[in-house]
């Protein structure tokens, strides 16, 4: 477990991801959140500055309140429904993405490439995989239908030129290839890592560094990436996690189930 530090405050990489991702959200938005960092980040945003942010869970929940210390094991159990506004069938909650009611889809990632395609199905060749991963779940649906934030650890083996398998499409082969494949809406909007915040070039749809985490250099980011990154004309350094942010996070996940 990597420890990060800033001004006497220590935090884990997962905590850093939660805080940075939370800051990307806006009050009043509807966020389709996966388990782990996405769930925590969205809840953190609600507690900090976005009281009217609505969280949707794949299991079929609209607008629940997460009970601190009782985090659900996935987005499909009754803990996800506490104080929810509505509970509905899985297919129907996923159809909200297709109908367009969702602002942001928010997931973790196992492997990503320069065009923001995600792989959570196969490491190696799909016919003879080195590792069979658990698969798409709602990932393919979310990434096909709405604007996405992905939060993940920044490692060279995870940031590859081309994913072994496109489980959840980003910009596919760049430029207009996503729309041409039949996906006119949505796309990968932001990638948050423990090293940087990234977006995608408007034209080529290649991954582009927008900001660096506190204390991280451009070289560090590039060295931990398996392909050549673009850098925005104005790369900023983001403010490190504030004490209140970390305190809220630790109240939500006192057992560090998702933030260890």
């Amino acid at each position: 477990m990597t420890k990060h530090q800033s001004g006497g405050t220590t935090y884990t990489a997962s905590e850093l991801l939660c805080v940075m991702a939370a800051r990307l959200l806006k009050d009043g938005q509807t966020v389709f959140a996966g388990i782990g960092v996405p769930l925590l980040a969205a809840t953190l945003a609600q507690h900090q500055f976005a009281p009217h942010l609505t969280i949707l869970f794949e299991g079929g929940t609209i607008g629940p309140r997460i009970v601190p210390g009782e985090l659900p094991p996935s987005t499909n159990e009754q803990r996800c429904t506490r104080y929810a506004n509505m509970v509905l069938p899985i297919t129907d909650v996923l159809l909200l993405l297709q109908r367009g009611y969702v602002d942001i889809g928010f997931m973790g990632g196992a492997q990503i490439d320069r065009f923001g395609n995600l792989n959570s199905s196969f490491i190696g060749d799909a016919d003879n995989p080195k590792t069979r991963l658990p698969g798409t779940g709602g990932g393919n649906d979310i990434s096909s239908l709405t604007n996405m934030i992905v939060a993940m650890k920044h490692e060279k083996r995870r940031f590859v030129p081309d994913v072994d398998f496109i489980t959840s499409p980003g910009w596919i082969r760049g430029r207009r290839s996503r729309a041409e494949a039949g996906l006119p809406e949505g796309g990968l909007w932001r990638v948050v890592t423990d090293l940087a915040l990234m977006g995608f070039d408007e034209e080529t749809r290649e991954m582009k560094v927008l900001a660096l985490q506190h204390g991280v250099t451009r070289e560090q980011v590039q060295d931990n990436t398996g392909f050549k990154l673009l850098f925005d004309r104005k790369v900023e350094t983001v403010e490190p996690p504030r004490k209140e942010e970390l305190a809220t996070l630790r109240r939500l996940d006192p057992d560090r189930r998702f933030t260890a």
Binding site: P73, Q78, Q98, T136, N140, L145
Partner: protein
């Protein structure tokens, strides 16, 4: 993937449905009797999702009955599908996500059987699974949708996924083949002896699965009277005429959860994960021997999980009602 008989032809679907006894009649039976409604080679759809409302008691009965060659489908597959592979009951799981659960890492049992080509894990997007059941429930051969396009998931399905240009808008669409399972296994909080079921909380894909399937086996925490059902007909979610068997089995999802009744048995799931970490095959076999083949009854199985564990799961389960 072959499209051969991927979608049940309409005339066949209608014939099969017409042949069912759909009258208002009692259909209460034991787990063992209900297991006889499942034939080797059937496509069996499992209700619930991940750790929730898994029809575990019925799966337990099918494994004990040594069924063979079942194709299993579910929205999200967890340890129950591990065990269906490890027991030899199934060699083919159709789902969107297959692992015990994020907090236990990637399932070693799933990995062993799929990576060694002992079993097929046929992957569809989660919404696609739901829309396939929904098309089956509606009596249409496909559902148009807007996902899986441009992805390896879609590509890998070959002829299982078709595309078309919308004649109204010119848009590109994916066409998902209807799924009408031979049998659906669904666990509910309560139903009557005819099979009218009322489900609390998360519904998952169960309503569509019940309507799509050619036979439905309901397990239920409690059988209530038909008069009770008729007092709140707008709470009924599955109508009796889709149901072929009703089995009353308390704590019937253990070690998974049943909304409002019990939460998952986390310590037991940790134990299962631990047993299958080192040697997935031996671990799963040991687990099956201990919890599946040795118990004399479902109550005996629950007693192996432990009274403390049952009470703890139930205490946590009721929290949605009274916290």
């Amino acid at each position: 993937m072959s499209t051969q008989s991927l979608v049940t032809p309409y005339r066949k679907l209608r014939e099969d449905t017409l042949a069912r006894d759909r009258g208002l009649r009692e259909k209460v039976m034991s787990l063992e009797e209900a297991a006889k409604l499942v034939s080797d080679g059937d496509h069996v759809a499992l209700g619930g999702c991940h750790l929730s409302r898994t029809p575990y008691a019925m799966i337990w009965a099918l494994i004990r009955a040594r069924k063979q060659n079942l194709t299993v489908s579910r929205s999200i597959a967890s340890s129950e599908s591990d065990l269906l592979l490890a027991s030899g009951v199934s060699r083919h799981v159709v789902t969107s996500w297959f692992s015990q659960g994020l907090i236990w890492g990637v399932s070693k049992v799933m990995r062993h059987y799929t990576e060694n080509k002992l079993a097929v894990f046929e992957e569809w997007s989660h919404m696609s699974m739901g829309l396939r059941y929904r098309a089956g429930a509606m009596g249409i051969p496909f559902m148009p949708s807007r996902t899986m396009l441009g992805s390896g998931v879609g590509e890998r399905l070959g002829d299982g996924l078709k595309t078309m240009t919308c004649p109204f808008t010119g848009e590109e669409l994916a066409l998902l083949p209807a799924l009408n399972p031979d049998v659906a296994l669904i666990h509910v909080q309560r139903c009557d002896a005819y099979g009218n079921a009322q489900l609390d909380g998360l519904q998952f894909m169960d309503l569509d699965i019940a309507m799509a399937a050619k036979r439905v086996i309901l397990t239920t925490e409690r059988i209530i009277s038909n008069e009770q059902i008729r007092r709140t007909p707008d709470q009924t979610r599955i109508p009796f005429f889709t149901v072929d068997a009703v089995v009353e089995v308390q704590i019937g999802c253990a070690p998974h959860e049943c909304y409002g009744v019990y939460e998952p048995f986390f310590s037991h799931l940790d134990e299962y994960a631990h047993m299958t970490t080192e040697d997935a095959v031996k671990g799963a076999q040991d687990y099956l021997a201990r919890y599946y083949y040795e118990p004399k009854s479902w109550a005996d199985y629950l007693s192996k999980l432990g009274m403390d564990a049952v009470l703890d799961a139930c205490r946590r389960g009721r929290s949605v009602h009274n916290d």
